[in-house]
Amino acid sequence: MSRVYSIEENGSETNRVKKFFQKDFSQLIIFAIPMVFLAVFLLYPLASTLIRAFWAPSEGLEFSGWSLEGFRQFLESNMYRKSLYNSFVISIAVTFFTLLIGVPMGYCVARVKMPCKTLILSLGILPIIMPSFVGAYTWVILLGNKGIVRIFLNWLLKPFGVTVPSIYGMFGMILCMTLTYYPFVFQLSYGAFAGANALLEESAMLMGAKKGRIMRTITFPLIMPSLGAAALLVFVRAIGNFGIPAVIGGNNYVLPTLIYFEMNGFWNINGASSIAVVNVAITALVLYIQKYVVARHEYETISATHTDVKLHESTGAKVFATVFCLIILVMSLLPQLTIIVMSFFKRWDGLLPTGFTFEYYTRIPRYSHKEMFNSFFLSITATLLCAVLGSIVAYITERKKPKGAALLDLSLMAPFILPGTVVSIALLSAFSGSSAIRLTGTYVIIIISYMIRRTPYVYRSVCASLTQLNPSLEEASTISGATWFYTFRRVSVPLILPAIISGSILTLTTLLQELSTTILLYAGNTRTVPIQIYSAVQNGKLGQASALSVILLVVVFAIIYAMNRRKGGDMSSSFKM
């Protein structure tokens, strides 16, 4: 708003120079920084990946000629074909099952009068903020070949001639991901059911519609956009998940683990790029479907008044809702509980763990101090930078609405749908080997990858808060005589601060448990706790892995808890696209 007006360019040369220096450049400088960052560390790496995808596979990074070799693998190699197939099946199945359990749960909590709603909502968000691969390997303990739950279930199901399939493989991956990602559907559908204007349903009732009809013709159409967004979120996460397939996938590769396999096994960055491109293409297609098919049915609510929905109060509904939510919560939180138990015991083969010990914890300072430092240093640094970058870009796109704002929005949000392994590949392809800026093995490359992947959280959260914020608040400040920067500091930032904080908290908690990006970027001295946990699991050191996971769990939980104590903290807008 502080642009100097130049209505008639009839001023002399000196006048023009004077005008130039009178301009308020603080705005321009602040806006330029994120642009440069995005161009160098996002667009350039992505372009580089896209180009490499069409190069012949090579062990090094030198240019080896155009080729479709990388893509041909999907037709010729059994392993590639199988990975593609697995990725598809898992993502679709997980999306389906999360909707199946998340929507009823959202409805129950929103529309049934039941106890401990806040607790259910808080517990219901835990699975997505806990390291998912940690959950995966605890299922090995519970449902593995000698797992207690498996033995129990098999005994229970024996009369029906059914046996529980092994946790290793498709069943396990789908189960783990469903229990990890259902919170997205649960939280978003809860928000939609609770936020719906009761007057709309009441008016339908007064016009003679029965409950089923209201549900079908009013309630569901209005929450469809939320469900679509949630389904998309789950699909994108599921197809990009690295940790769960890496831990319990066994020979069942999916695209992210295939990328890791190509990179780790053969340092075939061009081949990995091809897989990455295919992975992204699928995600983009689904995003397109969501945006143009589901989102078309988005409605603006036209109403002056708003009343709260009436809750179901019958005993039957209460009991059903409580039991249903409880079962889901117990199942999804079972891994976290198991881990806590296991971190105190040496062995857990039979029904009960044996050999109580504190050893795993006492060893942490000695064996993991470097990893602890790395994890916190990298996550906190990246979070602070994300907060700055995300807020500024959100401010630009929402307030300044420059030409190309949509493009800016798209490029910032792109990493949201990119699997972590793909981001790593992009950064590696741009900044390793013979490239001008060489960053492999440094803290910098990990921080950049974190920023690229997590800035959307803050960005979305701040965008949502800015759209709610009347621009006249800022205009009032300008009118009072404040320069752009003063207004930004004293009015804009304080008002969007809650959004910045909630986005940052989400960023920090997810970064502390980040595995899929880090696994391709870390070097000996930049190893993080999740990497250490992962390799401990691979080496069968479950006790050490558990103890470290418990530490992560406690830290993450403490952060979330502290944030929930703060009034008005709402993370849901950070999830949306």
């Binding site: 007006y5 209505i7 308020d24 006249s472 300008t478 009072s480």
Partner: protein, 373 residues
């Protein structure tokens, strides 16, 4: 120090040079006197808010010049213009206390703290919020009327050259609105700051403003006091926007320097309008509009010389008068007439056949151009 505000050929074109270009202000030129409370009035989309925001510098004008006193402010950014503005939404900062909200403009100007306290206290007394200032709550804890006063106090505290009010009463309920408009006039007169008040409510504008400008489609139709605009509207648009005016299609049958005689279409009724009531000079045979305010017409059961047959559509009892809405021949008036009578008329009910008559000395003559809003 309060200043006058002068516009010279101000034009504002949105998305200039594209297909969707909107010419929001067309050659606007007029002067608002020092210390005046000036209303910009017009239907939505008339350009009144654009003109106000351009005056503030929140919109960039496409051509022309604007002056505060002798200073050309067209190229001065808004934060250097020293203006106060009250927004429709009040735009109070929820993250600051009432005191800090009001003090904001002083803090921006790096005013010493003791002066800040003094000035805030003074201005809060002026707007009648001294009690609230002692408690100093968050502005969200105040009622609508109090928030309005805080917004005014915040705009006044640093002695702006010009005070701008953008539909300041639109967010208040009807009763409070009537009260606050008197308050705004009191405060404006007490400070004597040149004030521009934007509204779409003609009653509010007439009640508050020293002078009013009626805008339509980016053009200033007429400027004058409430009395001038009501009793001597320049054209059919202003006549019908400031209060209600009923129009009758007619033809000029004889035109002289002292009067015009017009015959209402499809009837033999001839009305003589003195020249000072003719808002334009027609030629014999031209289409004209005869204008009569609701109180200038009479509705009766009896057919008399020079009356028009009609049918009562709706009767509304509005307290001090009764409004009869009467449909007459669409060729004479395509819209329903509104006729105000001092008392309920005997034997006239909804759907009754009635006769409309004129208080001949009150009628005015308009050009048929632009009668619609």
């Amino acid at each position: 120090m309060s200043k006058n505000v002068r516009y010279e050929n101000v034009n504002k074109i949105y998305s200039e040079g594209t297909k969707n270009a909107v010419h929001a202000l067309k050659d606007v030129s007029f002067t608002i006197n020092q210390g005046e409370l000036f209303c910009l009035l017009g239907p939505s989309g008339c350009g009144k808010t654009t003109l106000l925001r351009s005056t503030a510098g929140l919109e960039q004008i496409s051509s022309g010049k604007m002056y505060y006193g002798d200073v050309d402010i067209s190229t001065i950014p808004p934060y250097k213009r020293n203006i106060g503005m009250v927004f429709q939404s009040f735009a109070l900062y929820p993250h600051m206390s009432v005191f800090e909200n009001v003090a904001y403009g002083l803090r921006v100007r790096k005013t010493p703290n003791d002066i800040v306290i003094k000035k805030v206290t003074e201005v809060m007394e002026l707007v009648g919020l001294q009690e609230e200032l002692k408690r100093n709550p968050s502005p969200t804890a105040l009622s609508g009327g109090q928030q309005q006063r805080v917004a005014i106090a915040r705009a006044l505290v640093y002695d702006p050259d010009v005070l701008l009010l953008d539909e300041p009463l639109a967010n208040l309920d009807a009763k409070l609105r009537r009260y606050m408009r008197a308050e705004i006039r009191r405060i404006q007169k007490a400070t004597n700051i040149t004030t521009i008040f934007v509204t779409h409510d003609q009653e509010e504008a007439m009640a508050v403003g020293d002078r009013l400008a009626v805008l339509r489609k980016g053009i200033v139709e007429q400027i004058g006091s409430s009395d001038e605009l009501y009793n001597r509207p320049k054209n059919a648009f202003v006549a019908n926007f400031i209060g209600k005016m009923n129009f009758f299609n007619a033809k000029a049958v004889s035109v002289s320097s002292s009067e015009t005689v017009a015959q209402i279409d499809g009837t033999s009724i001839k009305l003589t309008i003195p020249a000072e009531k003719c808002r334009f000079t027609p030629k014999t045979g031209d289409s004209v509009l005869i204008g009569g305010r609701p109180e200038h017409l009479i509705v009766s059961k009896e057919n008399s010389e020079g009356s028009i047959r009609g049918k009562v559509h709706i009767i509304q009892h509005l307290g001090s008068f009764i409004r009869y809405e009467v449909d007459i021949d669409k060729g004479i008036s395509p819209v329903t007439l509104e006729i105000d009578m001092d008392s309920m008329q005997k034997d006239i009910h909804e759907n009754s056949e009635v006769f409309v008559n004129f208080k001949n000395d009150k009628l005015a003559l308009f050009s048929p151009e632009g009668r619609e809003l």
